[in-house]
Amino acid sequence: MEKEEFQIRIMDYLSGQMDEKQRAMFEKEIASDPECQKQFDAAQSTWKQLDNLERTIPEPSESMDTAFYGMLYDQVEAMESTSVSFLDQLLKLLQRLWKPQLAYGIILLGIGLVAGYLMNDQGNVEPANTTIVDSNETEEVREKLVLTLLDQPSANKRLQAVSEATKLNSATESIINALFTTLNNDPNINVRLAALESLTKYVEKPEVRMGFIQAISKQESPLVQIALADLMVRLQEKSSVDSMKQLLEKPGIDTTVKQKLEESINHII
């Protein structure tokens, strides 16, 4: 058995950390080795002697208790007072800080509210005015732009004019006239189709519908003719039948258009 391990086991034995079985085994083991037995006996006798020493320990006096409870009481008091005084101090500090700041805060808030209210009030009125003025102005400018652009030699510009005309909220007579002129006379089919498209916005107006009927017989391009025929079917415009029949009688008419016109006439009737 190693020396240290033996010492550890002696201490286990003496301090009662061994159970019955272990104790018996340990006793048996050391009994077979006189040197170990000697060492163990020495340790055991000293250990037992220490029991006597324990008996010499006097009882602590009552003054120890008095001193302890006095100390504990002081500590509890101190803790409570520090926590209370800390709270007090915090409150005082807050009060000192709060008074002027709260007042400033309220004043600033008031000023802010009033200023905000006033500014908001003005803001509500003014932008409304400007938008009205703006939209009126835009309409005027747009109208002029449409009329000017329709006179341009470039088909592109005229297309732009027609698309600008579509953006107008309400068309004046001059615009409608200009658009019909384009529909009937423009050399470019695309521009004529765009003008037709643009004019469909105002079909509620009787003069626009009349214009369409008159336009039917004037059209040369099969695409525009078909578009017009479709539009008539959609509008169920009975007075357009005559114009369509007139167109049918024109020499050299496209067979597709012819078919389409006949269909349309049947639909309307």
Partner: protein, 184 residues
């Protein structure tokens, strides 16, 4: 039951319920007093040191984690209190040598104890006081304080096995000193 364990009580103290320290004091005052008394054989000094241990435990209550046993933590504090006391008294020149001076019994009580007990006990006591502080300490902790060696290892900062070996060596040395006294 759990609420009444040493660890649970100390954790309550830690969280601000200082009153619970009273219960811990009642449970451990005798153990602590005995520890100090065996270290210095001076009852009134031991009482002061017990007081110091509780003052210190209150002061450093935040260091108690509840992981180890309360007893181990308490005795670690007690050891520190003991060392600090000796360092201080050495500095102030009151006591020059622990082992040679302390076994002189100064208290009235101690005088009574001396008269009441037979010579061999007094001899053992003197022998004990001649041991170096660390050895006396480990004998006290292992013999009287109902601590497990694992806890003693905790207190001394060593393994359980090392604590047992140390205790055995202290026991041997005590015997040597004791036997030497007999021969004088």
């Amino acid at each position: 039951m759990h609420a009444l364990t040493d660890n649970a009580l100390m954790l309550k103290v830690k969280s601000g319920d200082l009153q619970k320290m009273g219960l811990l004091y009642e449970r451990h005052k005798k153990r602590l007093f005995g520890f100090f008394y065996n270290m210095n054989s001076n009852a009134s000094l031991s009482e002061d040191l017990v007081q110091n241990v509780f003052v210190r435990m209150l002061k450093y209550k935040h260091t108690f984690t509840g992981e180890g046993s309360f007893a181990a933590w308490m005795f670690r504090t007690a050891r520190n209190v003991n060392y600090d006391h000796y360092r201080k008294s050495k500095k102030s020149g009151q006591q020059h040598d622990l082992s040679s001076l302390e076994f002189k019994l100064t208290d009235e009580e101690d005088m009574n104890v001396k008269m009441d007990h037979n010579d061999s006990v007094n001899q053992l006591k003197r022998a004990m006081l001649q041991l170096p502080v660390e050895k006396r300490e480990i004998l006290m902790l292992s013999k009287y304080k109902g601590l497990k060696f694992s806890e003693i290892g905790d207190i001394l900062g060593c393994s359980e096995g090392a604590a047992k070996v140390k205790a055995h060596r202290a026991l041997n040395e005590l015997r040597t000193v004791f036997l030497k006294m007999e021969t004088i």
